[in-house]
């Protein structure tokens, strides 16, 4: 008879398949970049970046901004997740819904809006009469400023991962703690947070890695104050492309990979030696009554939301209504011309909407499947190979888009071996790059959900006769609907806005929304760019509203704002 597989193992094809896919999405492009770097090194010696103090300062800046930013994200994301899923505040759904939107405003715009909001020209501060005089140094041009904005930008990532984690906490565990005499705050500290730790850590680690690879915010807030981070450093290297640039790129990528691996190591440590598997059913979470604190908490949440969403978004809307920067918004200057132009004259916007919608959907769903398979594998197999896979998955997301794009061009510019045709210049290469880039984002919530699930639920399905695909679809996916929802929403939102990867990989006909917005802005049509951004946000809101209407037909808990 045939050799029998291990008890806790998956079908024999699973590991090789997942391994191969990860190799293809991550190791091969990264390896190609490393190869180009090594070749350049052999041609002209070790890359000088490695010996410049500036590089190490950028390394330190990257580390500090992303760590601080992560803390900001965690504070905001956790607060919102707890408030919307465990307390009796009103309009939770709206809060949750709105809290995801900051991710939809491109980082550059958020940064500019905050600069404007806190600078001398701030309409807000002017109205309040506390605008600083012309030329006052901008407080946001600092490590703290960068971290703050990174934190704000990435808070929804923590929010979503955390919510998925919270939804898996068994209700009776909280009740038992309360009956033991723990006041809500104690329950939070001793039971809720520890049990939601996988979700929390997943969120924190995506926020951290996002901060490592972010270019838009440090570019706008860091460069004026001479604060370079690794992504902005990479960019400045690329500006004067020379013989050593590939070596520089490879070296800087290596540094970012090191940060990532260190982050992952910390994450593994934090999670190790614990068991988060719930035993039995995890029902609906109970609700803590805030009592007299409800109104203040609500005010605080809405205020934060105003700062991180309404203000940048208002700035966006305002600049879409006036023809040029600095033109005051008043009855004479206001016009909807930009919207007319975008909607009815620019044919690219329609294509871009189509492309981005396709890419974001395909990436989100494709990665969902991939993430489930990978998470399943990672949880059932242990060992250094698995840790290595995790790092491989994470690096592409940590690299600035431009580096990843270069790696993919290196790999795909020439026709594919054997097959003879080239993917370069088609929409598929962008999709592959998206799969590579956002894998980490998609995997995190799913992996943490797997950590929390009662294994007996899968075992029962197996004994019923369900093979891997079947029990994934029928049992695991629906049970982990919150995590699956978070994963899809995260990837979709990020992909909708993605700029750099698609910018370098696109050609005529395949441009995406991010590229379209960037091009409009770059050619001085800030009004059109803003209008398009506003339309993108509107599209997302419309999409979410549509899902809200369809909620009845979707598995429970998939829609993050409905929990």
């Amino acid at each position: 008879m045939r050799r029998l597989p291990n008890a806790n193992s998956q079908p024999g094809w699973l590991f090789p398949t997942v391994f191969l896919v990860i190799l293809l999405l991550s190791a091969v492009p990264l390896g190609r970049l490393a190869y180009a770097g090594l070749a350049a090194t052999f041609r002209s010696g070790l890359p000088p970046v490695l010996f410049e103090t500036g590089t190490w300062r950028a390394f330190a800046n990257t580390l500090s901004t992303s760590v601080l930013g992560m803390f900001v994200s965690v504070a905001l994301g956790v607060a919102f997740a707890l408030a919307t899923s465990l307390t009796d505040i009103r309009r939770k759904r709206l809060l949750g819904f709105a809290f995801m939107l900051p991710m939809m405003v491109p980082p550059q715009i958020t940064a500019l809006a905050w600069v404007e909001m806190s600078g001398p020209a701030s309409p807000l501060l002017k109205t309040l009469g506390i605008a600083p005089p012309l030329g006052t140094p901008q407080p946001l041009y600092s490590i703290g400023g960068i971290a703050l904005l990174l934190g704000v930008q990435h808070a929804p990532l923590v929010f979503l991962a955390m919510q998925a984690g919270l939804s898996a906490i068994p209700r009776d565990g909280i009740e038992a703690a309360r009956l033991s005499g723990a006041a809500p705050r104690r329950v939070l500290r001793d039971i809720v947070l520890p049990l939601a730790l996988p979700g929390l850590i997943a969120g924190a680690s995506i926020a951290f890695v996002s901060g490592v690879g972010n270019f838009g915010i440090p570019a706008i807030l860091g460069i004026p104050a001479s604060i370079l981070t690794l992504p902005t450093l990479v960019y400045s290297r690329l500006a004067s492309f020379g013989s050593q640039t590939f070596a520089d790129l490879a070296a800087l990528s290596l540094l970012m990979a090191v940060i990532c691996a260190a982050g992952l190591a910390v994450q593994q440590r934090a999670l190790s030696g614990r068991d988060y598997r719930t035993i039995g059913l995890s029902g609906t979470s109970p609700v803590f009554s805030l009592g007299p604190w409800r109104a203040p908490v609500e005010v605080a949440l809405w205020l934060v939301l105003f700062l991180i969403l309404a203000a940048p978004f208002a700035a966006l809307v305002a600049s879409s209504l006036v023809p040029a920067y600095g033109v005051p918004l008043n009855a004479e200057t206001v016009s909807l011309r930009a919207y007319g132009e975008i909607l009815f004259r620019q044919s690219v916007t329609v294509t871009a909407f189509g492309n981005s919608a396709f890419l974001a959907t395909a990436a989100a769903l494709g990665l969902l499947v991939l993430s489930f398979a990978t998470a399943y594998l990672l949880l059932h197999r242990k060992g250094p190979a698995m840790a290595f896979l995790l790092v491989l998955i994470e690096i592409p997301y940590a690299l600035p888009g431009i580096v990843l794009a270069v790696a993919f061009i290196l790999l795909f510019a020439a026709p594919l071996p054997v097959l003879g045709f080239s993917l370069y210049g088609t929409i598929w290469i962008i999709l592959i790059a998206y799969l590579s880039s956002f894998f980490a984002v998609s995997l995190k919530p799913v992996l943490s959900a797997f950590r929390q699930i009662d294994p007996a639920l899968e075992e029962a399905a197996r004994l019923s006769g369900a093979g891997l695909a079947r029990r994934m679809r029928d049992v695991l996916l629906p049970i982990m609907a919150p995590a699956a929802g978070a994963s899809v929403v995260l990837v979709f939102l990020i992909a909708c806005n993605e700029l750099t990867v698609s910018a370098l990989l696109w050609s005529a006909g395949t441009q995406t929304l991010g590229v379209a917005i960037f091009n409009l802005d770059d050619s001085g049509s800030s009004d059109l760019a803003s209008a398009l951004s506003v339309l993108v946000v509107a599209m997302i809101v419309a999409l979410m509203a549509l899902l809200e209407v369809l909620a009845r037909y979707l598995p429970d808990g998939v829609l993050p704002w409905r929990r």
Binding site: P170, D172, G173, E175, A176, A177, R178, L179, S180, G181, A182, A183, P184, R186, V187, D190, I191, P194, L195, L197, R274, D275, Y276, R277, T278, I279, G280, L281, P286, S289
Partner: protein, 341 residues
């Protein structure tokens, strides 16, 4: 510690029938109430209301002088000083066994050596001291249940709520734990409410038994009283074993039937309207003279055989026998006692 009073307590889950329906009861300070009833009758729901997890749809709960639950609001569970063994155990998966058990102590400010000692004492009682550092996921079902038990009894709660706390334990452990409950009850004087499906357990432990069905209390009485004098078909069928026969019984007669009365009834010698009569197996004994019955079934239960006996009209009686009787054979039994429901 104080008297626990339930006033017309009701609870309906969203859009369903009432799970608990107008229940009233007084458990005196230090009482030990066993709650019996078929699966789904509302026992857990009642405990959850007492603990403060569910808000009553109607009625109120009073503990001592304080109203602790009404349809308008409830005193939060953490301020009730109660303890509970959950039907699902509700262990915290991220804590070790010792941490799980010690947590209520920690909340009460017990620290260091004292905490360790008390925790280990509680674990000793449930015989889990050597598993103190395990996580719940690495325990067997019965071990989990014992952790939940230890956690429940580690402090000095005013009210202890036990939701089938011994369901997953073997007989010996069960006996030992019963002993522990009795000790704990005697020592702490806490009011205990105990849900179980094991009547022997209930009888052995409780000062009072409440029989519940479909959200209502059918009878509340001390164990021997409820066993001897159940009220109505449901309680009669639920408490102890026995069969209920519809027999013609004349009006105005004693509810307690002696041997002669039973035989008269069973032989159809008495007239009158039909009435439900409960006959317990221990009162049906092999005898020299009495009623001839056919053995339908004879099931070995270890200590003895459980017999199912058929009367001439096909209605059934139950009895015990030390010896195996062949199914199908006829035998003579005397019926010592009966109870008119």
């Amino acid at each position: 510690m104080a008297t626990l009073i339930l006033n017309h307590l009701s609870k309906a889950y969203d859009g369903g029938r009432a799970a608990v329906n107008g229940v009233s009861l007084t458990v005196r300070d230090g009482g030990f109430l066993a709650l019996l009833g078929p699966s789904g009758c509302g026992k857990t729901t009642l405990l959850r209301m007492i603990a403060g997890f569910e808000q009553p749809s109607d009625g109120s709960i009073v503990l001592g002088e304080r109203v602790i639950s009404t349809a308008e609001g409830v005193l939060p569970p953490e301020r009730r000083n109660m303890a509970m063994v959950f039907q699902s155990y509700a262990l915290w998966p991220h804590m070790t066994v010792a941490q799980n058990v010690g947590y209520p102590l920690k909340l009460r400010g017990v620290k260091g050596e004292n905490l360790r000692r008390k925790t280990m004492e509680a674990l000793d009682v449930v015989r889990l001291a050597d598993l103190a550092d395990r996580r719940p996921a690495a325990l067997s079902g019965g071990q989990r249940q014992r952790v939940a038990l230890a956690r429940c009894l580690v402090t000095s709660p005013d009210v202890v709520l036990l939701d089938e706390p011994l369901a997953n334990l073997d007989r010996h452990l069960r006996a030992a734990m019963e002993e522990t409950f009795r000790d704990f009850h005697a020592r702490s004087g806490a009011t205990m409410i105990y849900v179980t499906h094991d009547q022997a357990e209930a009888m052995a432990l409780a000062t009072e038994i409440a029989v519940m069905s479909e959200g209502r209390f059918l009878q509340v009485a001390p164990p021997n009283e409820i066993y001897a004098h159940p009220e109505g078909r449901v309680v009669g069928g639920l408490i102890g074993q026995g069969t209920i026969l519809s027999l013609p019984v004349g009006e105005g007669r004693e509810r307690s039937l002696d041997r002669a009365a039973c035989h008269a009834l069973l032989l159809g010698e008495a007239g009158g309207s039909l009435c439900d009569v409960l006959i317990r197996p221990e009162h049906v004994r092999p005898a020299v003279d009495g009623i001839a019955l056919q053995v339908r079934e004879c099931v070995f239960t270890g200590e003895r055989h459980a017999l199912t006996l058929a009367r001439a009209d096909g209605s059934l009686l139950k009895a015990f026998s030390a010896e195996r009787l062949a199914p199908g054979s006829m035998a003579v039994f005397s019926v010592e006692r009966g109870w008119r429901l």
